[in-house]
Amino acid sequence: MTEGAPVALIVDDSPVNRKLLAKHLESLGIEAREAAHGRDALALLRDGASDVAVVLLDIVMPEMDGYETLAAIKADESLRHLPVIMISGVDELQSVIRCLELGAMDYLPKPFDPAILGARVRASLASKRLHDLEVEFAARQAEFLRTIERQKEELSRFLSPQVAALVSSPEGAQLLAGHRRQATALFADLRGFTAFSEAADPEEVLGVLRAYHASMGARIVDHGGTLEHFAGDGMMVFFNDPVLQEDHVARAVRLAVAMRSTFDELAAGWRKRGYQLGLGIGIDTGYATLGRIGFEGRYDYGMVGQAVIVAARLSSAAAAGQILLAPRTHAIVEDLVDSEEVGELQLKGFSRPIAPLNVLRLRSEAMAPGVTPA
């Protein structure tokens, strides 16, 4: 028999019937295996190496009859999808109906007609193949989904969680390609870091940066900010993208205040070791272009626009402990914060000076997220 020919198992206690069926199957290009009763058949099917694709099952047999065998096949998780064709005499139609109800796929009348045998066996083989394909497809799909989940999990370690989610979302491609939207940018960097990094051991510098990144990172996640990047002592966070946040300006301000207080706790420890470090923050809001920025091989999800530049310049200009808001940004959250004027600043690259405001504290009603007016 040719390699890869489908295999049928004939279960019949009559050697004459088995021999005749095997002969017919052979002419159809189907390899035949034989069992004299149900018990032998089940042993053969449960052998791990069984390649049987269809079972031809007699009803009246010694040891284990067709009903019992059929029930055992249908009750066995690994065999239940195997098509079973009942072999039946003309006077056994009532029994056949019972077998069809028990899950047999078809029946083969005696005496055997090769054409009917061929048609029924082929139909059963096709249904088995379809089932096998479905199982294989489902397994591949499950594997594929596991891979995607793993990739998502890995991605979320490298990217801000919102960006990782965006990459895997249905509208991801469109959003990554670039879109314009109102968004709020927050920049933070350290005062005194350059002097500190020149004076301290590299290990100490790294230790300080790690503590700073870890605690700021946690605050950013708490407030739903999208971290664009950490670069040494500087970090950029934006809001209202890719996840829409009605209160994006308020969120940025609350984050800034939280960062400042977290930083103060860190800085108290560093001060005891002689490190004089401070945190300066700048915030601005406005229309910006967001999406994939960079080049093949190294892309970031980024925000580009005047608000980004203003926020960056304000964070550079901020003294230790200051949170500077551009005037248009302050106007949006003025009911939420107590702030002070710090005078006009001439920001690099801007023709006119601006008069930013320093956030002193959140007013009590602005402390808890969710009670902020939109």
Partner: protein, 119 residues
């Protein structure tokens, strides 16, 4: 009802045709039938000896079926009637019927030999 032929040559021809005119195969199949039939007769005799009608159902059924496959129609019909009776639990006259099966079996083998289908 006219008695059925011991061997229906029409059935044998149809059988031969269904296996692509393979004479050797037909002879082999009848040889297998001869070997198998002995076992069923033994099982039937045992059922009669122990008065166990239920034990006669399966050998009668299988011999009915194998006989029909090779064209031994008279024997097949006898077995069918034994199967039907024993299924209903009737064992009256079973001994006579089994005796009749044995005689018909011998006659059937003789008929196959006459037709050159059995050694």
């Amino acid at each position: 009802m006219a008695e059925l032929p011991l061997v229906d040559l029409g059935v044998v021809d149809a059988l031969r045709e269904s296996v692509g005119g393979d004479d050797d195969f037909v002879r082999e199949l009848i040889e297998t039938y001869v070997g198998e039939g002995g076992d069923h007769l033994t099982a039937l005799a045992h059922a009669v000896a122990s008065g166990d009608a239920a034990a006669a159902v399966r050998p009668a059924h299988t011999l009915k079926s194998s006989s029909a496959s090779v064209g031994a129609m008279r024997l097949s019909e006898l077995c069918r009637s034994i199967e039907a009776a024993t299924r209903e639990g009737r064992s009256d006259g079973l001994a006579d019927q089994v005796e009749s099966v044995r005689a018909t079996w011998d006659a059937t083998l003789e008929a196959f030999r006459t037709e050159g289908l059995a050694a």
